[in-house]
Symmetry: C2
Amino acid sequence: MAHAESSTFVEGLSKREAYAQVLEQAKALFDGQRNWVCNLSNTASLLYHALHSLPSPSNATNWCGFYVLDPKNPGQLILGPFQGHVACQVIAFGKGVCGTAAQTKVTQVVEDVEKFPGHIACDGASKSEIVVPIIQDGKTVSIIDIDCAQLSGFDTDDQTALEELAKVLAESCDF
Amino acid sequence: MAHAESSTFVEGLSKREAYAQVLEQAKALFDGQRNWVCNLSNTASLLYHALHSLPSPSNATNWCGFYVLDPKNPGQLILGPFQGHVACQVIAFGKGVCGTAAQTKVTQVVEDVEKFPGHIACDGASKSEIVVPIIQDGKTVSIIDIDCAQLSGFDTDDQTALEELAKVLAESCDF
């Protein structure tokens, strides 16, 4: 039985330790459960609460969640489960940070979203962003998207851990 | 374009006014968009932020989201989009507050979850709960589930507004 405490992160963990707990909890939650909506919903919660347990800038995370392939239009992403304020519903492949990660299949770490060509400002509070593609059979099926209300909110530790999480999600979910 | 500000609620609204804003924003978001994951994800955010803009006990909302019919097992609900801590993944029809609402198609307003027979304690912090079924063609397709960390967190104003929202969701989403 999943329990709320699995998304409680003690203060004082390093970022690597917090992400290690996210990965461990995520794998436990996905054991025997491949429904993507269920798994992405709990993963958004794990990530959001992990980042908020950390010092600045991680605790300034203001949006954390997923976009997935739009079943009605494979040329665009559609909003999936998330934690935070209301978000853009659809994003075309190639547009903004999310669309670029989806199209190129390459993680985007953006220190200042205002400097990213074609940035889509769903939330004016967001200053930096990381987007990691989730790839199944060579195709982008979803992206992990995290926004931070501070500049340079994400570093190589975030990238390494989120790319590992994206692999686990690709293996564990039927999209 | 959906924007984060649509889930910003000014302080000082009455509960009825806050819910009226939720309904108005939800209808605007659903205009031209019938994807249920997208729409429930944004609705969970609207509701969570609306309730947190209100005085006690509404601002003690600690979980706000949805369960839907499990496509792999129509006798149970599976976790949908939400805001809050990690939640139980599946709930059998008839079990606990959510399963009872799903099976009976009747809203459950529970002043003290500890006194509800068969209560499923996903989160020990939850003290009271409201669950509203979403009915399409006479069948429960989803439930709205909100938990409060205070006793008696929900009243007839919540029930009336959430039942109206459930109707809007039933009309606006392809589940």
